[in-house]
Symmetry: C2
Subunit: 514 residues, 2 copies
Amino acid sequence: MVVMGRSTNPAAEGSKEARPPSAAGTSAPGATVGSDFLQLDIGQAPSGGRTAWLADRLRSAIADGRLPVGARLPASRVLAAELQITRGVVTEAYRRLAESGQIAGRGRLGTVVVAAPAAPRERGRPPAGPGTALFGSADREGVVDALRALPCRIDLSPGVPDLAAFPRTGWLRAERAVLAGVGPADFGYGDPQGAPALRRAVVGWLARNRGIRADPAEVIIVAGVAQALGLLAQLLRADGVRRIAVEDPGSLGARQQLEYGGHEVVPVPVDAGGLDVGALRASGARAVLLTPAHQFPAGVVLDGERRRELLSWAADGGVVIEDDYDAEHRYDRPPVPALRSLLPEGVCHTGSVSKLLAPALRVGWLLVPPDRLDAAVTAKRYADLGNGILTQLILARLMDSGELERHLRHVRLRHRRRRDVMLRAIDTHLPGARVHGAAAGLHLMVTFDDAQGGFRDTDLAAAALARGVKAHPLSWHRISPGPPGLVLGYAAGPTHEIEEGIAVIGTALRDLRS
Amino acid sequence: MVVMGRSTNPAAEGSKEARPPSAAGTSAPGATVGSDFLQLDIGQAPSGGRTAWLADRLRSAIADGRLPVGARLPASRVLAAELQITRGVVTEAYRRLAESGQIAGRGRLGTVVVAAPAAPRERGRPPAGPGTALFGSADREGVVDALRALPCRIDLSPGVPDLAAFPRTGWLRAERAVLAGVGPADFGYGDPQGAPALRRAVVGWLARNRGIRADPAEVIIVAGVAQALGLLAQLLRADGVRRIAVEDPGSLGARQQLEYGGHEVVPVPVDAGGLDVGALRASGARAVLLTPAHQFPAGVVLDGERRRELLSWAADGGVVIEDDYDAEHRYDRPPVPALRSLLPEGVCHTGSVSKLLAPALRVGWLLVPPDRLDAAVTAKRYADLGNGILTQLILARLMDSGELERHLRHVRLRHRRRRDVMLRAIDTHLPGARVHGAAAGLHLMVTFDDAQGGFRDTDLAAAALARGVKAHPLSWHRISPGPPGLVLGYAAGPTHEIEEGIAVIGTALRDLRS
């Protein structure tokens, strides 16, 4: 066993303060731990599964506090020698923990624990009950939240980027600079429309990444796209609008947001060219919510002809709500300019940092046509008097300094690799599944042909969850019926989980059909 | 002239990273500056006003970047010797800047610049125009925001605590610990009801400070009291309620929040015992919003008899909304338990950190009766999917560790001293004014007897603003007419500004009457 002394390097980032209160009485942060302390017994490892076994043992030790945040792992060659295994097994186990965000290389300090895994309840295999009840119900109110709250081993739900890559160090550095630079008045009641610094930064971001020319006076900072949709629902009702057209299939969450806001949603079909604008015109709806750059969930792009038709519909008085939720993420195709860049006076545009950095920050932006600006700012004021200041100023710094763009480039590489792994796994484990919309975004959609179908995708999702794997049944996001399918997020988790998750879904599918 | 070398103390908190980008090309952070660099010429100082002159010169130098954040001021005896003035003048000028949050003692490092003053536009004397237009208008929509946006020299608006005391170092320390402790899943979509850690911490806070027993499952984290009122307005409308009783005088902002939410507000008079519950009963309103622990703006406490009457009204089916906006601040009287502690099933309770730490954080809490909990959580979900996670977890840490309570004790001493200064200044400069509600809170109210009255308080506020001093006319917060008055905040600014501000109001009042 090797237990080195405490690190005395004063440059050790967070080596002392990173200790959570719960770490008392366990291994001291900054100390290096050996296999003895962890009670690793290589005799327990299944032959051929040593990497998974070691990663799992380490994860448990982090979860239960034996390896607290700040603790240093033994060098790979030291641990390999102690356990009498090859060094490659140790480095691969470390790589998995690094990819899922629990440990990180810290230069001369070696490899340290940086975060505990998700709540321990999420590690186990769930009872079959709740999933079956959830997927069996026809009532979709709250199903996404309910699914999120259930435990699982592997989460392939769509809608989140690589959260393990959240730039903690850059965030803290920006926060330190913000706290040193703000005056007392900045802590008072601020501009409900948003901090001017962030509105300026968003204007730059939209110009560079989405081709939108805007003035900071046109930008409203909101608590994510969800709040933007809630405010727009409110403004449209005040205008006498009661029906809003939505894409079918389309986001269940967005649809529920509009329904809660007092609107009837009118389904308009989506095909390979995006929203069917002819059907929109025929529906008589005066407003439409759509995802033109990367349709959710089908992943198609609104094509040139449809764009022209849609803008002509808007010029005739239709209100277009452009949900630009993940347009910055693309792999195999050129960027698609935002509709807002073509017709500012007819398009409401909303986006957020949820898919760029993290949904938990709850920051987004809303641009409305000039004649609706005052009403939208007033709605935001009465909603909450504006977003919190510190997060706004930190984001402004990250955008202005180029750090957010660097982060985007960094996660794009990881996302692309994960997507490729998912595509290969689908090819192997889900033969006959059709893949849609894999050229961009953070998720893809698979459908199963009618000939192979004959099952309900909610049953498939329930069977997968019973085996510990979460995914969205496509039917949750449909209004009119259609072939069964799944919506699968590939951005959030490490590649080995993606492979295993798809394999589990393949098993569940075979069981369902047999 | 004295220019000492750069500090090389590695413990210098934020000495390097605190430099804002704009500081390039000016005095280097960490360097000590002398009077030569600042071009201080004592010959310019008016005799008898050297302290104010020196403080003003230093403030300008910080504002325009000659003294960047991180710069070290000369020792007081050094600067006194250079300028050939007494050391007391220098230490008093430093004290004023420290009190307004621009400089701070840093142990062996001496006195350093920690923050630039509020936006430079706020330093000048405003043109008379906008103030006159603002106070002359009968339309009160947006007047508080509009007043906030106007420049002034001294701000005596009510509603903010000592913002210069914001615990920047403690906040950053808590954030570092939070970032080290959270896992990737914490950055995803969270619980719309609020982070469990903060809900637990709020339960502890309410038990210790407000006598409320609650379970974390009953607490909803919201974006301040404003959002809580918006959500309640929405729930009550869904229940068929269309009229909500409010205190008269009472908060203009709260009233507008309910009106925007689609309600008619029904004024109920306030007297020395608080809200007139008999008049509430007679009004036929089914819901009431009130500030029982410290009435805004009159500062009275709802007395025992009225509490019993109100709880009996609630037991008969009335909905009580308790706005507990500043109940933690009190000086000369014992704490008043929250109504919620007496009747959980009949009282909605809301509070926030706006008056404890800073309004700009936009974090508060809402407790509703058990039968409304699901509807309230759903409303919060559709409003914004929940508050941002990092601010929630930092606040939870500050509450759990006792730091927030220490901060409260610290600012209470400063607030009390400032209140005493304001009371003395009113005695001197506003003879005949009646002071109300100075025993607690962050503001007091003055009224002018009818005999002395005969002017409009909006004219007084406009005249004060034309001289650079902001205050709220009492009539803004009235529904029914009453004697003229002002609502004056004493918590936010340093004592010399309070003295000067009240003197200016005294001058404006004499001019108005002459």
